[in-house]
Symmetry: C2
Subunit: 435 residues, 2 copies
C-alpha cells in the first residue's frame, strides 16, 4: 500500500482552483481522514500566467496536458476543462496509461461514456464523476453504493440552478421570464448566453449521467426528449398554483417494466411536495428505490467550493478503494453497462396528465370546439379555467386533462392549431404527481 | 481477492428478515454490481421457530450467536438485535475474531462507540452502521466520504418518524398531542409505549452517532441535552405559524470555534425552509459544510425494507473496501476518534432566540411584571401576542425574544414562576433560523 497518491489536474479554472485550494488548505485533515497523502503534482492549463489567488510553486504548472498524462508517477488525473474535445482524448490517453480519472464533464459522459468505461475496465482503473451532476451534493455515490440494494423506479431531478432560479422568481415574485433571467444573470446564476441552460440541454446531460448510473445502460444526450422553460409565463405559474401545483424543470427517468422513460421538460408537481420546495439556485434529486421508497438529496448544484468538494470526495474514493496507487486490488464496484434489459420508450407513448394553455379570440363556440377536438382524441378534461378577455379581445383557457397519451395530445394540438379562433402557440406541460 | 463473503446475521426480527429477503431476492444483481457473492451463511435468533414468511434452508438457523462468532468462515457479522447487552459482547467478540461488523444499534453506539472502534482498529476490521440513523437514507456514508473535504459547521436532523408524524398532524390538522399520538399508534408510526421516542431519547442516540461521524470525537447519550415534544399544544403550532415558523423536534450539532453544541429539543424553524417541509413519518438531515454550504438528505427513517437497504449497502461497502474477505488491505477510512480538539458546550451558554408560552390569570399589571422580569435578565422582547381570556379567566401570552443566553432565560423563568399571576408551566422553545 502506498502512502501517497500523486494527482495531476488538467484545467485550472474556477473549480480547478477550488480543488487546488482544498488540497492545500486541508492537506493534513485529508491525510488524517483517509490515511493517504494526496499530493498535487502538476497542474496543466492553457493559461498558467493568470493569478488564481492561490499560492503554489510555479514549477507545478505546465501548459501541456501531456506532461501530466505521460508522468508515470501520477496516479489520478483530474479533468476539469469540460467539453468533448480535447477532454475525451486526454481522458482516454490517461486511462491507457493506467491512471484513475476524476471528471466533472457531463457533456463528455453523455456522449462518450461507453468507450470511456470500456477502456477503464480494460485498464483496471476507476472513473469517478460526482461533480458532473448537482455539484455540491454527494449524490452519485449514494445512488451507486448507498442505494445499491434497490431497483431505482424513478428519478426526478432539479439539476439546473439557472432554470430553478428563474422559475422560483417567476413563481414567488410574479416576474416575467425575461425579468427573472436578467436577475439571474445579474446575480451570477445565469451565463451571458443562457441558451444551454434554459433550453434544458444542461439538464439533459445530467439526466444521461444519472440514468447511466441508476440503470447500467449507456444513455446519450440524443436519447433524451428535451424541452426548456422559455415558453413559460407568470400566468402559467399562477394557474398552476390555483390547481395546487408548482412548475419545475425536471430531469425525469422512470421505468415501466422493461422500458425506460427519459425526458427533460417543465413539469407540474404537487405544490406541497418536498421537491416543489426546492427554490432559487438550489438543486435536488428525488430518487425512488423499490426498498427505500422516496429519498431526496438537496444542496448547491454549482459553485467553486461545492463542486471542488465533490471532486475531492472522488479522489478520496479512489484512495480508499485502491489503498493508494494503481497497483493494488481494485474495487469491483466499477461502472459497467448492459446490466439491464431496458429499452428507452418513445415520447409519444408517455401517459400522464397534461396542462394546456390555449389563447383564443373570444368568440362563441370556441370552448365547445376545443372540447370536441379533445374528446375526438380520447382526451378527458379534468378542469378548465377561462380568463377574462384582455385588451386585445383574447381570452386564455387553461385545461387540465385526466391521464392521457402524449400521442393524443400531439394530435389534438395539431388540430386545435388549425382553428381560426386559436392564437399563438399552445403550451403543453406534463404533470408528475408521484412524489 | 475472494469472490465470496460469508455473512452471519444475529437478530432475525423485522429488519433482519428484510436483510435476508434482499440477500435472497437480489443475490444475482448484488453479485453483478459488486463482483463478490454475498452468502448468508448463518442466522442466529432466540426464536428460530417463528415463520418470517421467507423460504430459507432450516440448517442456516441457530439459537446461538456464538455459532456465528466462532465460525471461522464468516467474514461479516450483522448485528440487528439492538440494545446494549448482549449486543455489545457479541460485537466485541466478533471483532476479536477479525470479523467486520454491520450494525443498526444506535443505543450501543451512543454508549460504547469508543471501545468498539478501538477494538476494530486494533483488529483491522470495518464497523459500519448506516442503518442506525435515518433507516432508508444513505446518509452516514455521504457524511463520512461524500462530504470528506468539508468541516461540518452544523447538523439539523429530523430523525424520529414518530415525533415528526405527531408534530405534522398537530400542525396541519390542529390535533392535540394525545390525538396525534393515538393516530400515530393506530397507523404503526408509534410504539404502544412511545416514551423513548416522544421524550427525544431516540433522537439523542442518533445525534450521538451523527456527531461522532461529523466531528471525530466520541459522543455519549449523556453528553446531549434532551427535551421531548410532550409539552407542545396545537396553540404553540398555531402561534409559531403566525410568526412564520414551524415546530420540529431537531437533533442539533453546531460548532462555534472549539466548542460543540449538542442538543435535542422542539425547535422553531423558518416555515419556508426545506427542512420545515419534511412531514409525517419522513426523516431529513440538513448538513452544512464549509465548502458545500447546506445539503439535505431526505427519506424514510424506518421500516423493514428501507432499513434493510442500508444494512445491505454497509455489507457491500465492506466487500468493495476489502476486495472480499478480511485478509486484504483494508480501507484507511476507518473511524477513529480524537481528531478534533472540540469540547461540548454547556447548555446554559447557548445563545439563540426563544419562544415563551406563559399562562396567566388575567390580572392588571401582569404584562408589565413579565416585561420587567425579562428586562432585569437582559432579555429583549421581539414580539408579544396575548390571547383573549378563556373560560377560566386565563390568558396566554406568547413572547418571542431577540437573541439571548439560555442562562438568562432559565433565571427569568424561575422568577416568573414565582409570580402569583402565572399559572402552569412556562413553555420555553428555542429557535434556529440558519437554514
Amino acid at each position: 500500500m502506498k502512502n501517497i497518491l500523486n494527482i495531476g489536474l488538467i484545467g485550472y479554472g474556477t473549480v480547478g482552483a477550488g480543488v487546488v485550494k482544498c488540497l492545500i488548505e486541508k492537506k493534513r485533515e485529508l491525510k488524517e481522514k483517509c490515511g493517504i497523502m494526496l499530493n498535487l503534482k502538476k497542474i496543466a492549463d492553457i493559461d498558467i500566467k493568470k493569478d488564481r489567488g492561490i499560492k503554489i510553486d510555479k514549477s507545478v504548472l505546465t501548459e501541456s496536458a501531456n506532461d501530466i498524462i505521460n508522468d508515470s508517477e501520477i496516479d489520478i488525473v483530474v479533468e476539469l476543462i469540460g467539453g468533448i474535445n480535447p477532454a475525451r482524448e486526454f481522458i482516454l490517453s490517461a486511462i491507457k496509461k493506467k491512471k484513475h480519472i476524476v471528471t466533472a464533464n457531463k457533456a463528455l459522459l453523455s456522449e462518450s461514456a461507453e468507450i470511456i468505461f470500456k477502456e477503464a475496465n480494460e485498464n483496471n482503473v476507476i472513473v469517478n464523476f460526482e461533480a458532473s451532476v448537482a455539484g455540491g451534493i454527494p449524490l452519485l455515490k449514494a445512488l451507486k453504493e448507498g442505494l445499491i440494494a434497490n431497483r431505482i423506479t424513478s428519478i426526478y431531478g432539479i439539476v439546473n440552478g439557472t432554470c430553478n432560479y428563474i422559475l422560483t422568481n417567476m413563481s414567488i415574485c410574479g416576474k416575467s421570464f425575461a425579468e427573472a433571467l436578467k436577475e439571474a444573470q445579474d446575480k451570477g446564476f445565469a451565463e451571458a448566453n443562457p441558451a444551454f441552460d434554459i433550453e434544458g440541454k444542461d439538464t439533459a446531460h445530467k439526466l444521461a449521467v444519472l440514468a447511466m448510473l441508476a440503470y447500467g445502460i449507456p444513455v446519450k444526450f440524443s436519447d433524451i426528449n428535451c424541452e426548456g422553460i422559455t415558453a413559460l409565463t407568470p400566468l402559467d405559474l399562477k394557474y398552476a398554483h390555483k390547481l395546487n401545483y408548482e412548475i419545475k424543470l425536471l430531469a425525469i427517468a422512470k421505468i415501466h417494466h422493461n422500458t425506460l422513460d427519459l425526458r427533460v421538460h417543465p413539469t407540474l408537481i404537487p405544490q406541497k411536495s418536498i421537491l416543489a420546495n426546492t427554490n432559487f439556485e438550489n438543486n435536488a434529486v428525488y430518487i425512488v428505490g423499490d426498498y427505500t421508497g422516496p429519498t431526496m438529496f438537496y444542496g448547491k448544484g454549482a459553485g467553486m467550493m461545492p463542486t471542488a468538494s465533490s471532486v475531492i470526495s472522488d479522489i478520496v474514493d479512489i484512495a480508499i478503494k485502491t489503498g493508494g496507487g494503481n497497483d493494488n486490488p481494485q474495487s469491483k464496484l466499477q461502472y459497467f453497462f448492459n446490466k439491464q434489459n431496458l429499452s428507452i420508450s418513445p415520447m409519444f407513448a408517455l401517459k400522464t396528465k397534461y396542462y394546456l394553455r390555449i389563447t383564443t379570440k373570444d368568440k362563441k363556440y370556441v370552448l365547445s370546439n376545443i372540447s370536441k377536438i379533445l374528446s375526438d382524441n380520447q382526451i378527458s378534461i379534468a378542469s378548465l379555467l377561462q380568463t377574462e378577455t384582455n385588451e386585445h379581445g383574447d381570452a386564455i383557457i387553461i385545461i387540465m386533462t385526466h391521464q392521457t397519451i402524449e400521442k393524443s395530445i400531439l394530435n389534438a394540438v395539431d388540430t386545435l392549431k388549425k382553428l381560426s379562433t386559436i392564437k399563438e402557440n399552445i403550451l403543453t406541460l406534463r404533470v408528475e404527481e408521484d412524489m
